[in-house]
Symmetry: C2
Subunit: 151 residues, 2 copies
């Protein structure tokens, strides 16, 4: 039950390159042992790597992940960092929520644009009834968003 891994084993397992792993070590996120010149990764290293990658999926920077990892690695039980981190995550979360809100706005605008577009396509298919209901294309544009183009 050799609890150890080689660099390419880890790379394989997590679908990343060895370069990335060495980079993480360079940044102090991993500290594998050495046997001669070669790196030997133990279970704790795997755990750290997992945390790093999850951090990435969450949009955290390596530096941020480094803090989290520091938290999971308490020699003395440091509560303060933990609190700070929880707050940081909270902020991240609020940011995400804000993003979602803005995204929702944008989506509804896109929907509106799509409707306009469909209408336009319909009219295209028909013989253009000149005075049916006066709504110029420029007028429509303004309804959606005030973008006019010149040049």
């Amino acid at each position: 039950m050799s609890d150890t891994h080689t660099i390419s084993q880890l790379a394989q397992e997590f679908g990343i390159t060895t370069r990335a792993i060495r980079f993480y070590e360079e940044k102090g996120l991993l500290q594998p042992k050495r046997v001669g010149t070669q790196r030997v990764f133990h279970h704790s290293d795997r755990t750290r790597l997992k945390l790093i990658l999850r951090g990435k999926r969450l949009g955290l920077s390596l530096e941020e992940s480094a803090e989290i990892i520091g938290m999971y690695n308490p020699e003395g039980n440091n509560r303060k960092q933990l609190q700070a981190l929880i707050q940081a995550i909270q902020l991240k979360r609020e940011h995400l929520l804000q993003q979602q809100k803005e995204l929702a706005d944008l989506l509804s605008e896109l929907d509106a644009a799509e409707v306009q577009c469909s209408k336009a396509l319909l009219k295209e298919g028909k013989p253009a009834r000149k005075n049916a209901r006066p709504k110029s294309s420029t007028e429509k544009n303004n309804t959606i968003k005030n973008t006019r183009r010149k040049s």
Copy 2:
């Protein structure tokens, strides 16, 4: 009433630098007129800039924002791009949702960690019962992190 702005007016209004604005122009996101050598921004430029900045808040790249802006700027009514864009946004949204899910997981783990931490602090205050329940820090790590495996 002159519908035009100078570069630093816009910069001021949107809280960005003139350098940024020139950069956007360089990237083709803005095409202000010139009077002599100086840039003159009209209302449409302001609108474009607004779109760019909203894109940024949404985490879009300038290139992505460029597409959106292109969409709001149809010479002929190009529906295809619009469709593609809606889909791109949709993907973005799904990505955000995924992130939120992972974030939720992480938060609950953090909660668990906090509980452990509190317990530890409590025990710290009391006379350490040597053999109460031997739980090494590595063991705690496992307790916390092994909620799932995936990836």
